[in-house]
């Protein structure tokens, strides 16, 4: 199968959907000629014109608001938010308006919009351009949250997001834009709420999101060499969350770790770990352990930044502990 970059996969998904449905448009800063700073959208304005690929002023709350209103009235907007850190600027329009409109109107109005943004540290961009803020939106009822971990998922999830009738926030890992993966030429969609078992194993379940899927897979590889068999699960969407696939795995392996690049405390890994504990407790041989980013603003200095995010070595070390029953004082 051909291999394309995550960046290209996102571009294709949007182009295909825009060809299919004229009510779709995209808006954001420097999305048209510039094709975004990451060049993910290059070429779209040439095909769809500036009426459908709209450069906005630097007004995140404003264009997020416009998208909500447009979505309520027959359009299907895709909002491009250049950095995930700018989510803080659009929270009111996203969480007080978009997320609640369908419910507050008793189902009469709906808000089919996609907010595409990114996450991920270690780009030496410091505290305001490195955050992974998916936990915040996952907490708000009414929003769906997708976290692709490869070009393949990025395309399939984006297409599903665009067709969904509810607001969807999709987080791309900005360090993966150039990573290639096999992506079919034929059209496909990836349904929401279906986790992928990316590697089968019997000793421990590693649940990883987005960027951390690679980390989990690398850790599994290391562990395999030591005779420890790790199963790796990628939830793909954290809202809705495919609990069953995760629980089925943990009931088999009896051990689990959850790895996520958001800050660990009050983060996404806590929810997944809690559900495992609540619903598979009597199968567990060891505590479910979380690994998230350190609870510090992301530092600029490479010497510091690199130690704030989970690594394959760290995951493997902890998994070893858990499997060998050395976990009494792990965390």
């Amino acid at each position: 199968m051909r291999e394309i970059t995550l960046s290209k996969a996102v571009n294709e998904a949007i182009a295909e959907e825009m060809r299919r449905d004229p009510s779709i448009f995209l808006m954001g800063e420097d999305v048209a000629e510039a094709g975004t700073p990451f060049k993910v959208l290059s070429g779209l304005v040439e095909e769809f014109g500036t009426e459908r690929i709209i450069d906005t002023p630097i007004s995140e709350p404003g264009f997020m608001g416009l998208a909500v209103g447009a979505a309520m009235t027959g359009s299907r907007p895709i909002v491009d938010l250049m950095f995930g850190d700018f989510l803080f600027l659009v929270m009111d329009q996203l969480c007080n308006q978009a997320a609640k409109t369908h419910y507050m109107s008793g189902g009469k109005l709906s808000v089919p919009l996609v907010l595409r943004t990114n996450m991920g540290a270690t780009r030496r961009s410091a505290a305001q351009h490195s955050q992974s803020l998916h936990a915040l939106v996952a907490h708000i009822p009414g929003l769906k949250v997708a976290m692709p971990s490869s070009a393949y998922e990025a395309k399939g999830l984006m297409k599903t997001a665009i067709r969904d009738n509810s607001p969807v926030v999709i987080f791309e890992d900005k360090l993966m834009y150039n990573d290639k993966a096999p992506v079919p030429e034929e059209e496909y969609l990836i349904p929401f709420g279906e986790a992928a078992v990316l590697r089968e194993g019997s000793d421990i379940t590693l649940v990883g999101t987005s960027s951390m899927v690679q980390v989990a897979l690398a850790a599994a590889e290391t562990l395999a060499a030591e005779g420890i068999s790790a199963e790796v699960i990628d939830p793909r969407t954290i809202v809705p969350l495919d609990e069953e696939t995760i629980l089925t795995s943990v009931r088999k392996t009896s051990r689990a770790m959850v790895i996520d690049e958001g800050h660990q405390s009050y983060g996404v890994s806590a929810e997944i770990a809690s559900r495992i504990t609540e619903k598979a407790f009597y199968y567990l041989d060891a505590p479910v352990v979380r690994m998230g980013a350190m609870d510090v603003p992301v530092p600029f200095s490479p010497a510091l930044e690199d130690i704030t995010v989970p690594t394959a070595e760290g995951v493997a070390a902890m998994a070893r502990h858990l499997v060998r029953g050395e976990a009494r004082d792990v965390a």
Binding site: S23, F25, E51, R52, T56, P57, S59, P61, G62, F63, M64, G65, L66, A67, V68, G69, A70, A71, M72, T73, G74, S75, P77, D92, Q93, N96, Q97, T101, H102, Y103, M104, S105, G106, G107, K108, L109, S110, V111, P112, P141, G142, K144, R163, D164, N165, S166
Partner: protein, 333 residues
């Protein structure tokens, strides 16, 4: 009413509908207030009484395809944009037959089928929505116009400036209608707003207008003109409508002496009431007799009371509805 005097040609039906709609709003609010005072309404609500000419003057210039966005003080807009009493009172009481199946209540009340995109409990929260609706109309090649209602206090929200900029850049068919009732909750807005509201809109290249918000004909005349122009792509526009709220900020705001005087309230109620003044004009102009108007008012009153009784007796939503409508259904693939 001076400006409207020479418009006698406009037909009687329109005049009487405007009068009736204003009376309906007043009547709705009087009943809502009673429901609060008699502890039959859950929560609080913000009365529109006194501001009727704003909602009616503007909404009478709109078609059902045109959109509005409303505010925490949203009953007036809802009635004016074509809603029925029954579903409104049901919503106010949290009943299943309410426009939002009881999930929205007073602060989210809207007859969505008439283009009301919702009341909003976030001050200024609908400014983006209204502007986006106008963008959508333009992109989809429709000709509907959106009116964004908000208060004087809401002009302090930065969102407004962001969306005005985009509306002006892209010539969107949106009209920003600022209901300047002089107060932001318990504070005179003059104390918390610098400069001039019309200048703020004009700084973005947006044409701005001021109008007496107690004069339904003046409001309607201006609205007709601007809606027609917006429909032709000459928008956006800004209108500042000077008006007054008769009640407290909400029904529970009873002792208001510390922020505004009884005298001030009396002057507005006695000399500037939009319904009394328009009624007087209608009789003066021989369009309707005082008896006809009284009959109309009585009929509305009876309507409202019947709707209240209906709503009081109506069912709450079944508890199974609690987790319905979190997500919109997707069409089967």
């Amino acid at each position: 009413m001076a400006t409207a005097k020479n418009k006698r040609k406009t037909n009687t039906e329109d005049y009487l509908r405007m009068y009736r709609q204003m009376v309906r709003i007043r009547s709705f609010e009087d009943n809502a207030n009673q429901l609060y005072l008699s502890a039959k309404m859950p929560g609080l609500t913000h009365m529109y009484s006194g501001e009727e000419a704003v909602a009616v003057g503007i909404c009478e210039a709109l078609t059902d395809d045109d959109k509005i966005t409303s505010t925490h003080r949203g009953h007036g807009h809802c009635v004016a944009k074509g809603a029925e009493f029954k579903q409104m009172f049901c919503e106010l009481l949290g009943k299943a037959e309410g426009y939002c199946r009881g999930k929205g209540g007073s602060m989210h009340i809207a007859d969505q089928s008439h283009g009301n995109l919702g009341a909003n409990a976030i001050v200024g929260g609908s400014m983006g929505i209204a502007t986006g609706a106008a963008l959508s109309a333009k992109l989809q090649g429709r000709t509907d116009v959106t009116v964004c209602f908000f208060g004087d206090g809401a002009t302090a929200q930065g969102l407004w400036y962001e969306v005005m900029n985009m509306a002006a850049l892209w010539k969107l068919p949106v009209i920003y209608a600022c209901e300047n009732n002089g107060y932001s909750e318990y504070t005179k807005t003059d104390e918390i707003a610098a400069g001039s509201l019309t200048a703020r809109a004009e700084a973005f290249g947006i044409e701005a207008f001021e109008v007496d918000g107690q004069d339904v004909l003046a409001v309607n005349e201006l609205a007709q003109t601007l809606v027609a122009r917006a429909r032709k792509g000459e928008g956006p526009f800004f209108i500042e409508l000077k008006t007054y709220r008769y009640h407290g900020h909400h029904v529970g705001d009873i002792n208001r002496d510390y922020y505004r005087s009884k005298e001030e309230e009396t002057i507005w109620k006695e000399q500037r009431d939009p319904i009394i003044n328009f009624g007087a004009w209608l009789t003066r102009e021989g369009i309707a007799s005082e008896e006809e108007l009284q009959e109309l008012r009585d009929a509305v009153k009876a309507d409202a009371e019947a709707a209240v009784s209906y709503a009081l007796a109506a069912d709450y939503p079944d508890i199974s509805e609690v987790d319905m409508h979190v997500f919109a259904p997707n069409d089967a693939a």
